[in-house]
Amino acid sequence: MHFQIDSTALTEGVRLVERAVSTSSTLQILSGIQLQVDRNRLTLTANNLEISVKTETECTTIAPGTAILDGKLFSALVRKLPAGPVIFEKRDNQVIITAGTTEFTLNELLGDEFPAPPICDQKIMSLTDYELSKLAHSTLFCVSSDDQRPILQGVLFEISDGELKVVATDSNRLAYAKAEVPFLTTDTMEVIVPGKNINELLRCLPMDETLIDVYYGENQLAFRFNDTVFTTRLIDGKFPNYRPVLYTEQEITIVMNRQHLLHAIERAALFDRKGTQPVIIQVTDGVLELGMQTELGRSVEQFNVEHTGGNGKSAYSPRFILDMLKATDADQVMFKFEPGPRQALIRPAEHNNHLYILMPIRI
């Protein structure tokens, strides 16, 4: 293996694949980055069995070949290289990297065979990086952190009725986002993608209106864009039936400015140092009152709001409401609720593509 590459292209490629470098020591080969060189292309691959990232970039090949280098060291070195051409040459079990007057010699990771990324060849859909990012950001915050409930640590990607639906829930609250995807090549699909893997994917997206092709295969989902393939494992099992949870018939409806509500709840939440106290939401004849009382003191705020339906009050986690208000960029939000152990609904006032459901706190 002997090739030359521009340091900018190399850095970008390594930035993408280093997310899939394993940090646990169980299988040493997984902590490596694989370099494969053939006719004027360098392919970088990392695979920690959760996700794998494979990306191709142009290079000037002198001799094709393959090497596996310690991912942590290699990516740290590449980030510090001076701008300009970088030359790689493999001699025996070492790779010599030369950039200007700088020279490193890295020992190859030997032993096991490098696991090939899973093959996903069933095309599901195409959507832009913006669309994917928006769906993910609207829902990811509801993913559970409870490792005893692996299914809730995932995000449901469902295709039905010609739409893509993305759902996440930690069982106290639920986020639902849907979008019409122009290039749908399957009628129905239900897969659960680990939430943290989606987070890694978001960091890899170019965010320049690039079209992303989504493929399925081997219980994995692959996202292909430009010269990169990002593959994630899927979670086995059945996602909870969320449809009955999407209840929208609450007795009380208010519509108000999102920022006003957000700031008021942020102020109330200052009194909740332990993170366990509810904010009391009371609506009486067009006046919304937010109340919070803790051992530190209390806060009360009133707003005139658009109000339909009856009067009433209920109690909710301020943290949950804040998460939901921050996940949308709507000017006006609709908040529907009713007294008793019934879920409340928060959504943008103008459309119902994003729905946030939360359960009250029993006081």
């Binding site: 069982s171 106290n172 509810p278 359960m359 706190i361 029993r362």
Partner: protein
């Protein structure tokens, strides 16, 4: 000048046993385990037993040797807690500022309330009388200008004592007492003080503050200096909120059977869940504690997304934590719940609602009959396997 009252029940557990079992009266009564218990320690003993040199924390084996004809019983914690609740319910009638110290002990800040009584003695008598009427038990009461002196006072005329220390009596009472009577001076510290010729509290008065700081450090030095002069500025602090609720059991013999440990967890969980629900609280975290034969102790926790108060959630979490451990012979096992809240975040999928209702029904039955009247089959496993 503050007025602090310290209340301490006399040989509490033993007194409750004698109350319930009059035949124990006048006999040396030792609570902590049966006579043949190899591991138990004395938790309380009657005044008759103390004459044989038995004291709390002494191994039962030793107590049995000192007093072979004594009455040895393991004790009934639930009954003591029930009486304790009755006693603690009395204190707010006397002062709004109560600091419970233990199951049978409390500080009451009586500052300003003393004017309701003819004298400080009358105030103390009135509390003693109220406790006696309600529970049939005697308490010792100490009244003094601060917590240290009040606690010291309640100990001076035990049992059924009432001692008032007035400001002009402080030095007369303190000076002749051994230094070990000072709050915070344990056996080790007492030996240390004796070594340099300080035996009585009065002996400390010869030392200046800098001298004591030099000998005993900037924390313990001033502590000795001020306490020896009867100065203690600690406030009576009403109880802090409960941070956790837990139960544990030490086995007579080290255990290795998973089934038995699981069954024991079932029992512990019923006690923990009962207390959690009696306080009207919810928890989010379950902690499993295991002490192995070699005294190596581990704790393993899991925090749930949703708060819970049902036995099933506590049990299943504790068991799943137990399953992850590679077991060696177990000496002690315990379960604790924490992250306590008075409010409960409800769940969208209603998973624990049935378990919560079931626990509530079991609580009602157990409250009407007696604890353990109804239990889950899982708590019986250890008897089948033994």
């Amino acid at each position: 000048m503050a007025t602090i009252m310290h209340v301490d029940m006399d040989a509490f557990f033993a007194a409750v046993e004698i109350l319930d079992n009059p035949e124990y009266k006048g006999k040396p009564l030792i609570i902590g385990g049966y006579k043949d218990s190899r591991r138990g320690v004395v938790s309380t003993c009657s005044y008759e037993a103390r004459k044989y040199g038995i004291h709390s924390a002494m191994p039962i084996v030793k107590a049995a040797a000192l007093c072979p004809h004594g009455v040895f019983i393991p004790g009934r914690m639930k009954r003591y807690q029930e009486v304790s609740r009755q006693i603690h319910a009395i204190f707010p009638e006397f002062s709004p500022v109560v600091e419970p110290l233990s199951i049978d002990e409390a500080f009451l800040d009586m500052t300003g309330c003393e004017h309701f009584y003819d004298s400080l003695e009358a105030m103390g008598m009135s509390l003693k009388k109220r406790i006696k009427e309600t529970t049939g038990l005697t308490a010792s009461v100490g009244i003094a200008p601060n917590k240290f002196l009040a606690k010291l006072a309640s100990d001076l005329e035990k049992p059924d004592g009432l001692t008032v220390i007035r400001p002009d009596e402080i030095s007369t009472i303190l000076n002749p007492l051994p230094v070990g009577k000072l709050w915070g001076v344990g056996k080790k510290a007492e030996q240390e003080l004796n070594r340099i010729g300080i035996y009585k509290i009065g002996d400390l008065l010869a030392y200046s503050l800098p001298e004591l700081e030099e000998k005993f450090g900037s924390s313990f030095g001033p502590h000795l200096y001020y306490l020896a002069r009867g100065i203690d500025n600690r406030k009576v602090e009403p109880i802090h909120e409960a941070k956790s609720i837990g139960h544990e059991i030490t086995f007579d013999e080290d255990q290795t059977s998973f089934a038995l440990l699981r069954g024991q967890l079932g029992r512990l969980v019923e006690d923990v869940g009962w207390r959690l629900r009696q306080h009207g609280l919810y928890a989010r975290t379950v902690t499993l504690k295991i002490r192995y034969y070699d005294f190596k102790t581990i704790t393993r926790s899991h925090t749930h997304e949703t708060s819970f108060c049902d036995d099933d959630t506590i049990f299943q979490t504790a068991v799943s934590l137990l399953e992850k451990e590679r077991l060696r012979p177990v000496r002690l096992i315990g379960v604790t719940v924490s992250n306590l809240t008075e409010t409960a975040q409800l769940s969208l999928f209603d998973e624990t609602e049935n378990a919560r209702k079931l626990s509530a029904v079991m609580d009602t039955i157990n409250a009407r009959f007696k604890r353990g009247a109804i239990t889950k089959g899982r708590t019986l496993i250890d008897e089948q396997t033994q």
